[in-house]
């Protein structure tokens, strides 16, 4: 059978059999399903990636706080995707009294805070390869699931870390757990730095100066510009830091071990 004949038969088959049979859900319904998946087993955590909010500050305490507390304390999900992304120069929100430390505050030694530095092999006292319990013990924080599980991959966030980005309440940092071990950290808002001082809102030249000769530039499958840092230390050859850029500034970044650090869809 010729190639064009095979193509024609497969196309005809897909056209004939692949017509949706149920009414398509509304976009609002899809958003509800998406948020249900995120909130299914967790607090009011919303993983809104890409909301690069350099001016965001940590919100007091926990929002929600119980596994079944749904989306308490957040804007209505249906309104969220229509919110504009926060500019890195947006006005910081207010810090409520008795809050977690500011994300830009220096991290106390031995404790994981939003100010802990991200390195190729971990964040502050949390190292990639630790089990969830080891990470909680090392960081002195409770890590709660986002309910966004896919096979043996899921995300956890430090309980009580929230930032305001515009009207949104966002988890600034999320850890990917793969096969029971911390495999990567995603920094998606706030002022968390790398050990070289790069953070959301840093410029591409700043990234290059921070990691001289170790930055390779590429694009992910979906066209986003990625600046990947290959560690200088041969002992860290199996790790990377990846900065996503809008062409000028860092929008978000993640670090972790290979291959998880290159998973473009996270756990999805």
């Amino acid at each position: 059978m010729r190639d064009d004949q095979l193509r024609a038969r497969l196309l005809a088959y897909a056209d004939e059999g692949g017509q949706p049979r149920r009414p398509a859900p509304s976009p609002a319904e899809l958003r509800r399903r998406g948020y249900r998946a995120l909130a299914a087993a967790t607090t009011a955590a919303v993983l809104l990636v890409g909301l690069a909010g350099g001016g965001a500050t940590v919100l007091a305490g926990r929002v929600g706080g119980h596994r079944d507390s749904g989306l308490v304390g957040q804007p209505h999900p249906a309104t969220l995707p229509s919110q504009p992304p926060a500019s890195p120069t947006s006005t910081p929100g207010t810090v409520a009294p008795g809050t977690a430390p500011s994300s830009s505050a220096p991290a106390p030694p031995g404790r994981l805070t939003p100010g802990s530095a991200v390195t190729p092999t971990g964040m502050g006292p949390v190292e990639f390869g630790m089990t969830l319990k080891q990470a909680e013990r090392a960081g002195g924080v409770r890590l709660v699931g986002l309910g966004d599980t896919f096979g043996d991959c899921s995300y956890v966030v430090p309980a009580g870390w929230k930032v305001h980005v515009g009207e949104l309440v966002v988890d600034p940092v999320a850890f990917m757990v793969s096969s029971g071990r911390i495999a990567r950290v995603d920094v998606q808002a706030g002022r968390t730095p790398t050990s070289a001082g790069v953070r959301i809102g840093s410029t591409e030249p700043q990234v290059r100066r921070a990691y001289p000769g170790r930055v390779t530039v590429g694009r992910n499958l979906y066209g986003t510009r990625l600046l990947t840092v290959v560690p200088a230390d041969p002992a860290e050859a199996g790790y990377r830091i990846v900065f996503a850029s809008d062409g000028q500034k860092v929008m978000y970044f993640h670090a972790g071990r290979l291959p998880e650090v290159n998973a473009q869809e996270g756990c999805a």
Partner: protein, 165 residues
Amino acid sequence: MATGDDFERFFAATYPRLVRQLFAVVGDVGEAEDVVQEAFARAAVRWQRICAYDDPEAWVRRVALNRARSNLRRSRRALAALVRTGPVADVPELSPDATAVAMAMRRLPLRHREVLVLYYVVQLSVGETARQLGIPSGTVKSRLARGRTALARQLGEERQELRHA
């Protein structure tokens, strides 16, 4: 700037096409609708980020394919018989030619079906197919060659059977 309207437009423009593509992979239109809707639900809550991609449809397609693969793994035993020989689970009345293709596709491993559909139905190049699946181009070529040969052989046999009948 991402807006809810953008997502609605994106969904309306791509949903039917993605269901059609996933149907060709999984052979079950109900399952295709499920995995595509699940992928869109995930895209909806990440839209601020995904809309910045040059090709957000590829993200949804990849997540839907991941879901289809995961579903197959989860129910491998139950599906095994269906995949090889069983009746179509949720396929509308098909023409004899489309039925023959459905039967032939169902006999192929999922990894071959994915490559065949991305190459012939979605009409991606070998390189694009490799990037979409996160596998080397050489693997795409070998799966394409094996899938193409097996499909052509099975469709040839179907034709012979029809002729004899």
